[in-house]
Symmetry: C2
Subunit: 390 residues, 2 copies
């Protein structure tokens, strides 16, 4: 059920004192091979944290033997010192791993780095490096759960997932009380597989998987400086799945983790699925879904158990998607409260007392569709995010 | 200080029973001339309320002799019946005004209609038309204040403004506990002047004025189906100001009203000014300012008196504006907490205890700038907008 479920991986998590709570805050994942292929996707934010800039370079090298992750500090907007700190972290990780039995040869350029926490503050490097040393000693083939716990920030639960192939599997862990296009609480994801796959295959599988999972969750429309999704392959199963097989498994793990992220989003009281149907293109469907997902008046209405389809329609109207205002239908939890752009079924027929809400928007243009997952906007969201750093 | 301050206008507001509170809810403004030139700008939302579709046609006709406005119902997403209702309202208004002494000839096509309130419900036409009849009888040259009160929804105060020219003036009223790009509470604005100005001049003055005032306030990023800003000229002063003179006066009134809207925005505890400097273009500056204004993590941080410049920088990073991440400076209330994309002055030096907050973002690309005004995201916002219709 974790990143150490696939063969060839060891992991652990330790408390290095980066978090004032004393909870674990440094995670280490090592790929013992025989392969060390990898792929990664990163935040679209142009303000990228030092570890993102570093890890993008590591991925270009095509070999990832280890991933070191820390909570308790994002190392974002920290200037050149921040980048030197990330470099030092990778150097130190490589050095302590070289001291172990396996893998024989690890260079800093083979070590991806992920950080999460407050923006704009330098990491306490003495504690972090000591934590990395401790983590290297604690690596184990069942350390995935400990690693997942060490990357939590405002998360209330550790997030793990696993899908089995025929003789191979994909495991994963995630942190984030938000999404891609995500909260500054940041989304970090590490996926592992013991399948045999080259870098190009991994890249295609990962991009297709994230496109329909992490890219379609949106808790508050805020994109982090640190988002990272890594996929590491050890080849330890000696099985080479086809690209569709690998893509399906990676997508399933990403979907599972994405839903766990939305379920644990800061302050959320609703788990909202927005289905857009009848769109002229998939891009139109995504745009409409995301626009509805980000609309604060829709989000507050759902927090108030109010099936306010007028706010949904008004949000749709701000997009450039192809649609005719007098042909749009809207359903809330299966009740078509709006047909042809006007009131239809009685809104009192909508039951919003449960946590799960499904909004369906039918544009009646063509046959394309997309689904976006989001949350409501609650008092708890305001509370958590107004009190985060103070 | 109101729409009846300029000569040539009469107005009033009456209670027609559209609001369950019994407060006044129908306003009427009549231009007694001698001129009846006008200009208007309307919501960019593609889902337009029936009165917006109607009033756009009236403006194309080039003559506006009266504006009838109602609160207690937006008449948006109401299909063909909603449009017939707006038409009937204009017809009835014209008929009752023809019954009076002035103006001699009023057709339905000379009557603009504005509505605000809940989306998706038909108006109680019997009450509305009776209210219009009563309003026509109550018209007076000092009825501007009553008209402004009759269009309030979640507004806590009526909003009026006036600027004097040399022998002429511009008056105005507004409702809205949001903005252009506005809350579904909707922004309605009627501006009047006794200057002599043709339709083209009025249009140029109004578009330039709204571009830098109403278009630059953004309380929650939500664009209404009903936003309308009308400018009516009576020519009663017999003075023809230059275009720059007229534009300056209209802009000043719009600025005054826009600031009143932000000050009264739903649940706001902060009045936030976002200055973007050093941009490569004015469009870039507006984009950056608006993106920061709409970021829920920035808005909640300010609600919590937290000068979280990292969230501001992360919001800037999601735009396509020209900037280098390591050259951006950010000040909060004059303290440059971020220089060159990294921490600078101690954030504890920032005093956020007051209601007014100024965020300055310097992109260091060129010399263009823009200012956006917004509000914080508070518990009261969530409360008001989750309880609005239930």
């Amino acid at each position: 059920m974790t990143v150490t479920t696939p063969r060839g991986f060891r992991a652990t998590g330790v408390a290095a004192g980066l978090k004032s709570s004393g909870a674990s805050d440094v995670a280490l994942i090592v790929n013992d091979g025989p392969d060390s292929t990898a792929a990664g996707v990163f935040t679209g934010n142009r303000i990228k944290a030092a570890p993102v800039l570093w890890s993008q370079q590591v991925l270009k090298g095509g070999v990832v033997r280890a991933v070191v992750l820390n909570s308790g500090g994002a190392n974002a907007c920290t200037g050149s010192q921040g980048f030197r700190d990330t470099h030092s972290t990778a150097e130190h990780t490589a050095a302590v791993l070289r001291g172990g039995a396996r893998p024989a040869l690890v260079g800093a350029g083979d070590v991806a780095v992920c950080s999460t926490g407050l923006i704009g503050e330098l990491l306490p490097m003495d504690r972090l490096l000591a934590g990395v040393s401790a983590a290297a000693k604690g690596l184990s083939a069942d350390g995935g759960e400990a690693a997942a716990r060490a990357i939590m920030t405002t998360d209330t639960v550790a997030k793990n997932a696993q899908v089995a192939g025929d003789g191979w599997s994909v495991g994963g862990m995630a942190k984030g009380a938000g999404m891609l296009a995500p909260a500054l609480a940041t989304m970090l994801v590490v996926l592992t597989t013991d399948a045999v796959a080259d870098n190009e295959t991994l890249d295609m599988a990962l991009r297709e998987a994230t496109r329909v999972t992490f890219d379609r969750i949106d808790a508050d429309g805020c994109m982090s400086t640190n988002d990272t999704v890594l996929l590491l392959a050890s080849g330890a199963s000696d099985v080479q799945p086809t690209l569709p097989e690998l893509t399906a498994a990676v997508t399933a793990v990403c979907h599972d983790l994405a839903q766990q992220l939305i379920a644990d989003a800061e302050g959320a009281t609703k788990h909202i699925t927005i289905e857009v149907r009848g769109a002229a293109s998939e891009a139109d469907a995504v745009t409409v879904g995301r626009t509805v997902a980000r609309n604060n008046l829709v989000k507050t209405a759902l927090f108030g158990n109010d099936p306010n389809w007028g706010r949904i329609l008004a949000a749709v109207g701000t997009t450039t998607a192809a649609f005719e205002p007098d042909r749009v239908d809207v359903a809330v939890n299966g009740v078509w409260v709006c047909r042809g752009g006007a009131a239809a079924a009685d809104r009192s027929a909508v039951d919003l007392t449960g946590r799960d809400v499904t909004i369906t928007v039918h544009l009646h243009e063509a046959e394309m569709s997309a689904t976006i997952w989001t949350t409501d906007l609650s008092h708890a969201y305001v509370h958590e995010n107004s009190a985060y750093s103070t």
